[in-house]
Amino acid sequence: MRGVWLLLLLTGCCSAQQGEYVLAGSVVNSRTGDPVKRALVTAFRLPTPADMGDGPVARPTPAQPFSATAFTDVSGVFRFTGLASGTYNLSAQKPHFTEPPTERKPVQIESSSKEDVRLDLSPLGTIEGKITDQRGQPGYGISVHLMQTTIRAGWRQTEVVRDVWTDDRGIFRAWDIAPGRYLVRAAGRNSSMSAYINDGDPTNRGAYEGYVPAYFGGPTADSATPIIMEPGTEARADFSVMVQPAHKVRGRLENLGTGDVKFALVSGDEEVGTGRVAFNKASGAFEMREVLNGNYTLRATQGNQAVAEMPLIVDGSDVEALRLTLEGPVEIPVNVRISGQPELPETRRESLARPGSPESANLPGFCQATLHGADPGSVPSQSRGGATISALPGRYRVGIFCFAAYPVSIALGTSDLLADPSITVSPGAAPAPIEIVARHGGGMITGAIKLDQEPAGKIMWVLAVPSVSTRDPELAPAFDRSGGQFFLNSLAPGDYTLYAFSTDQIEYRNPEFLRGLTGGESVHVEDGATATVTITRLAQ
């Protein structure tokens, strides 16, 4: 069968055969070195000046196509023939493989064919397992979450990156898993929210048992056994979950608007039930199934329009007649006062707007507030024009961004948000304004990271940690191609320690993390001045 797909699933291959050259090679599993059969290889000829015509955009004609595709044979070999001279980008694709994150190197054909091109494909991994209950019975229909911890804007958060479920044998399988560190969590019975229209029993199902959420290796995230996935890892995660008596929670959602409603049951920081709900959109009646004994927060959200939340205790019996009232967003005033602002004609602002330029310090400063919800998937709310910020009732972290200025104090009523940026937005009540007091200007730090040994990545990162805890650390990139140079501006005057990292996945909002850092360079920043630092080692 080799000849069948040796060459051609073609997109324009034949009409590309206007030359005499051959471009051939093999596709290889980068982990094992084995050939990858039936991979789809695409050769894309980079446009030449002649192709460009008069404009900047290449205009291929039917007689002069830019790409061709071919499958590899059983030996992983691909071959394009009759190609014109030129520079070609080659890429390979195959289910359950990914191209390694290295730059594609164009292949040049000028005066001879090239038949020894090697394309690597990196295999993705699988995690398979079996879940049983304490009686040894298969845990069927269990939602299994693959979770990863990531750092965003200095905060550590754990996200569900894949959701699969067990079959009648208790077996689950997740594939195309990229390298990384994963936790596997059994999150209770899988079910999507169902709709019903009558006022009777929405389910009539005898769901009087439920699975206690648990992780592979332990009952909690802290006690769980992480699975480290390398390219092509076939990991196994067999574990047991407890079946316990479960109950139903019924009630009515009031103040319904339009849009889809999502219910969530939150225990501690974890959502423990989202889908096991029957909901009557006309009447607002809902029934949540398989709720185990415990203390929860019951939450319903209607898009980004409204939210309802209430504490819920389930203790040995069904919970009836709850009333949840959806509340719309609250407008929080944001007052910004920046002292020392320069007067600048409008016409000059644009010419000075290049960030980092010495002139930019002369631009009028501005500050804006952002509310980050507890849910990793939530979209942050940002103040527009410094006037108000719209947020649904709930708990948030306040982030402040200032340009050409630095915050001196941030407060919400009597709460000092520089010390603790957490706030709770309550429904209905007129909220106190977020008061931002800033000062125009600030100091700048420029410098470079110069290490004895070059790190693998293309970007390194510099973290400036102020000596006082009421100011946020600042993170800035340092690019290889610019000699590892970096700059940080609009810094509040004071002492800082600078640390170099090869990644931005650093938990710099965590005081404990900051306390453990070593290997930094100290620097003093003065208002309106520029300090220069060279960092020669990575932080520990």
Partner: protein, 525 residues
């Protein structure tokens, strides 16, 4: 078999009665241990009691006199007590009280099955994300029809697993798209795309050769499929009169919708393409072989416009040209039977398709006039909703009564229907009997004598005491019979015909309760 009308077992001075029995495998009769059972009053479904069957399959509740719903749950799947076979889900209520023996119930549990297998391509590689569908042929709302009962997808190894399915015969088929179709990158794609034709069990792409796969209770059936990619056909659709400067009636600058629907097993339809169109013609370039309905619709100056045609797509490209015309509509008037007051709010007239398709509806005006536009051709039941107990008394199209009470809608035509509505209702209850003894799990069928009522046949599976007790029914003349097979297609005129000679003629009077005892007839096989 339920022992009926034996001595009641009163357990306490509080008038509790024992509901007990054994849950067994419906095929083997073996007791089933550790099944969860719930007993819920019919009028308070949330106030259920829970128990677990013992090692010998036994279970027991103590309940006040009343009517109860008894359910069993095994591995997350629930079945009602009295479910007669795999697809008949009515079940039978348990009646407790004096003179009722509910202490010796036999709960026949229908064991579930699994269909599993692997989908490979013609190179022996797994096909990921293939859609595997199971269709069953069963009685739904009294009519035998083919409908989808399960859908799943293959994993990265090409495996699928349809679990917790009801044992019985299934059609199984798989659809998929080659993975490389979504990877076509770069400029200059001029070669035709390739597609996988739908493959039906037992491995045919010819829908007429699709066969039923019999799956037995507890069985894990294995069905593998092989998909072979072929060159896809291009379907080019043109609309003759969709251009902005086209002559009436399609002189519309509004967006048109193109919808291509594949005809599947048993007349089921699956949308394969749907897009908004500004400019014609439109070419769809990845169409597998099949029988398709091409439909163009849009908004005209006054009425919805539509054009549709069935086409067969084979190996070659195909072009179809359509001309828009006003869509079919149904209009008419709702009046009321003498001495019947109109409801406080106008009624809504609903067209419900006889078999497959979408319902359509419109609320009548204060004068009773209604118009339902954009109705797909086909046969429809016509009924009214919106007021307590209001129902269609008679339906007429001109001087004619629609055959079988079904309104026939032709493409592009305007049908006129006169509806006389009423809210006169009565009650019907009684027992199905054999040798004059009530008998549980029989099917009692009620058929209106006057087809112009448009009221479809009704059925009731008798409860544990052999009784039936319908919710309020339109007053009128009916035929009533009972059959010992609850699975018959009771709304199909041909199916019920053999039972009519021995059916009882009854009249349900407004506001009255009619009690009947109906002898059970053996089912005609």
């Amino acid at each position: 078999m339920l022992p009926l009308l034996a001595a009641a077992t009163a357990l306490s001075a509080a008038d509790l009665y024992r509901v007990a029995g054994v849950i067994v495998d419906s095929e083997t009769g073996s007791p089933i241990a550790n099944a969860s059972l719930t007993l819920s009053p019919m009028d308070q479904p949330h106030a259920g009691m829970l128990t677990t069957s013992g090692q010998d399959g036994s279970f027991a509740f103590d309940a006040a006199p009343g009517k109860y719903n008894l359910m069993a749950v095994i591995a997350g799947v629930s079945q009602p007590f009295g479910q007669v076979n795999r697809f008949v889900g009515m079940g039978a209520s348990v009646i407790t009280g004096p003179d009722q023996d509910t202490a010796h119930l036999v709960f026949r549990w229908h064991r579930l099955a699994v269909i599993t297998g692997r989908v490979l391509d013609d190179q022996g590689e797994p096909v990921e994300n293939a859609q595997v569908r199971l269709f069953c042929s069963a009685v739904f709302a009294g009519r035998k029809r083919i409908a989808q009962s399960f859908q799943t997808t293959t994993n990265d190894q090409g495996y699928y697993r349809a679990w917790a399915i009801i044992a019985g015969p299934y059609y199984a088929f798989v659809t998929a798209e080659p993975w490389w179709n979504s990877q076509r990158v770069g400029v200059g794609g001029s070669e035709p795309a390739r597609v996988y034709p739908t493959v039906y069990y037992p491995g045919t792409t010819d829908i007429t050769r699709a066969a039923l796969l019999a799956v037995h209770p507890g069985e894990e059936a294995r069905v593998d499929f092989t998909l072979t990619a072929i060159t896809a056909a291009k379907l080019t659709v043109n609309c003759d009169n969709c251009a902005p400067d086209a002559p009436p009636p399609a002189r519309s600058r509004s967006l048109m919708e193109l919808r291509v629907t594949a005809e599947g097993l048993g007349g089921t339809e699956t949308a394969v393409a749907q897009r908004n169109v500004y400019r014609w013609p439109v070419t769809l370039d990845m169409v597998p072989p099949g029988h398709y309905l091409v439909r163009v619709s849009g908004t005209g100056a006054e009425n919805p416009l539509v054009a549709e045609r069935w086409i067969d797509v084979g190996a070659g490209d195909i072009a179809v040209s359509l001309s828009l015309h006003p869509a079919a509509a149904v209009s008419g008037k709702v009046t009321f039977k003498p001495n019947v007051p109109p409801p406080s709010r106008p009624l809504t007239v609903v067209l419900s398709p006889e078999l497959n398709g979408k319902s359509a509806s419109s609320t009548a005006g204060p004068d009773g006039a209604f118009r339902i536009s954009n109705v797909a051709p086909g046969k429809y039941h016509v009924y009214v909703t919106g007021g307590p107990y209001y129902h269609t008394e008679t339906i007429r199209t001109g001087d004619h009564v629609p055959a079988g009470g079904l309104l026939s809608v032709e493409e592009g035509a305007e049908s006129r229907v006169e509806i006389v509505a009423s809210n006169e209702i009565g009650h019907l209850k009684g027992f199905a009997t054999r040798d004059d003894q009530p008998i549980a799990n029989m099917l009692v069928v009620l058929m209106p004598v006057d087809p112009s009522s448009g009221f479809p046949n009704q059925a009731f599976q008798t409860d544990s005491d052999g009784s039936f007790d319908w919710p309020p029914l339109p007053a009128g003349d009916y035929l009533l019979f009972a059959v010992d097979d609850p699975t018959i297609a009771y709304a199909d005129p041909e199916t019920v015909k053999p039972y009519l000679p021995q059916a009882k003629s009854i009249r349900i009077e407004p506001g009255k309760i009619l009690e009947e005892r109906v002898p059970v007839q053996p089912a005609v096989k």
